[in-house]
């Protein structure tokens, strides 16, 4: 990747689409401060940052939940390493488990949950540390369509309540249009860069199967198609 220059406003929901291998995941890792092998700079509230920090939480594609902890303990993890008291942690974890509708499952272990529920745990764990930014790396790609559609609605609802800044990497244009205020299209590697930026002005909450969505999807598809062809060639 080179010549990359973009800004994200506080509270914005931005989606990034691009052919596989174009460096979307690397970009998220860089923004999270987990990857330091790059030239350039990441500015956060006007200041240059290179270090990992819990004000930017990355939700990995395979989530990285802790199987040895219960749902509640997973959600409280970030608070525990900060040394928060048990009662303080309990209050916050309860709040966010209610928000993602897992209140009844707080004492379950991860392997007892369905894929969709695991997504919710990862989301609640990220929300619990009250970070400013959520970085999401194709988090719904392993789910069945029905679960995914519910989670699109849930994520929009939670975003509306919490007013987080969300950067969401996707390989699915419809998903990106359904969720994002803006959609960034990356070109294929090598030298992948931002090919186009689309502003999505549809009213919320948006449904993935709605008619209005399709008209926004088409031009983005047009922009993306040659890139996918290039990345396979």
């Amino acid at each position: 990747m080179s010549d990359l220059n973009f800004e994200i406003k506080r509270g914005e929901f931005m989606c990034i689409v691009g052919p596989s291998g174009c460096g979307k995941t690397t970009l998220l890792n860089i923004m999270a401060g987990l990857d330091n092998h790059y030239y350039g700079s990441v500015l956060y509230t006007g200041e240059r940052t290179r270090k990992v920090n819990s004000d930017r939480i990355l939700i990995f594609q395979d989530l990285g939940l802790f199987p040895w902890l219960t749902v509640r303990q997973n959600v409280e993890f970030g608070l525990r390493v900060r040394g928060m008291s048990k009662s303080g942690r309990g209050k916050i974890s309860r709040k966010y488990l209610e928000m993602v509708k897992l209140g009844k499952f707080s004492d379950y272990f991860i392997h007892e949950l369905s894929g969709g529920m695991r997504q919710r745990v990862a989301l609640a764990r990220a929300l619990a540390v009250e970070s400013d930014i959520l970085l999401m790396d194709e988090p719904f790609s392993f789910l069945d369509a029905q679960t995914r559609d519910t989670l699109y609605e849930e994520l929009q609802r939670i975003w509306a309540i919490t007013r987080k800044t969300i950067i969401f990497v996707s390989h699915n244009v419809r998903e990106a249009v359904c969720l994002g205020d803006r959609v960034l299209v990356f070109s294929a590697s090598p030298n992948s860069k931002i090919k186009a930026v689309f502003k999505i002005d549809l009213p919320r909450p948006r449904l993935i199967e709605s008619e209005g969505l399709m008209s926004e999807v088409r031009p983005i598809m047009e922009a993306l198609k040659p890139e996918i062809g290039r990345s396979h060639g």
Binding site: L34, V52, I57, G64, P67, V81, H111
Partner: protein, 257 residues
């Protein structure tokens, strides 16, 4: 449901052992082999009773277990420390990794002559053999499980702000717990085998010594009785101690890595 299957399994096992005893008794009754080569099950039972009532078996068991715990304990502590060092310092791992692997693959009883020359005919020689037999396998396990830690789990830990001690206690150790338990179990079985081999050669109480005494006295029922005790202890640790830990791990970790 599971419980019932468990009971059926238990009944089948009991039937199997009874059948085995009956077959054994039957073969003895045929008198193909003399009694001093193949004693009747009853005479083994008598030897067991006798050995426990004059405390010679009890003392043997405790002597062996004491050596085992000492040697295995040292192996776990120092083997783990060495494993962490190999994981932490790449250069040391590159230089010493193969050396330690070769020490681990060496049959532990080969340490015995060296131990005898170093420590003489003492308790220390046997414990040394137990340590030499199990320490390096624990080192290898600790090193390789730390190396195979999921990078995503580590990154999640970093992202949420876990550092040093928090990282070790809340992320690294639990994430390697399943493979550590497997390695410690393997270390235990190495320690146990080394101990028996050592005790057979070096006559000083202990179960291996009782076994050897049976041979010297030409007392087959004693030999078999002690073998029973050794097998019982093996199963006790394998199933009860490590089996329980493994079940707990299975329940908690759910087979997810």
């Amino acid at each position: 449901m599971d419980n019932r299957i468990g009971h059926v399994g238990l009944i089948k096992q009991v039937i199997f052992y009874i059948a085995l005893l009956l077959l054994w008794q039957f073969i003895v009754a045929l008198k193909i082999w003399p009694e001093y080569l193949l004693p009747a099950p009853i005479s083994i039972g008598k030897t067991l009773l006798c050995g426990f009532s004059d405390h010679s078996f009890t003392i043997g068991i405790f002597t062996s277990l004491k050596r085992l715990c000492l040697g295995y304990g040292v192996s776990i502590i120092f083997g783990s420390i060495l494993g962490v060092i190999l994981f932490r310092y790449r250069t040391i791992n590159d230089i010493m990794g193969r050396f330690i692997l070769s020490l681990q693959t060496m049959p532990s009883i080969c340490w015995f002559p060296l131990a005898l020359l170093w420590f003489g005919l003492s308790e220390l020689s046997i414990i040394f053999v137990v340590i030499a037999g199990s320490l390096f396998s624990i080192t290898m396990t600790v090193n390789s499980s730390l190396r195979n830690m999921s990078p995503i789990i580590l990154n999640v830990g970093r992202n949420f702000g876990a550092k040093k001690l928090n990282m070790l206690a809340w992320v690294m150790l639990p994430s390697v717990a399943p493979s550590l338990v497997m390695g410690f179990k393997q270390g235990w079985s190495f320690a146990w085998r080394s101990l028996m081999a050592g005790e057979l050669i070096f006559n000083s109480l202990g179960l291996g010594f009782l076994l050897n005494m049976g041979r010297e006295l030409n007392d087959m029922s004693r030999v078999i009785a002690v073998m029973f005790i050794i097998a019982a202890i093996s199963i006790l640790f394998d199933k009860l101690v490590f089996g329980r830990i493994e079940k707990f791990i299975q329940f908690r970790w759910g087979g997810i890595k």
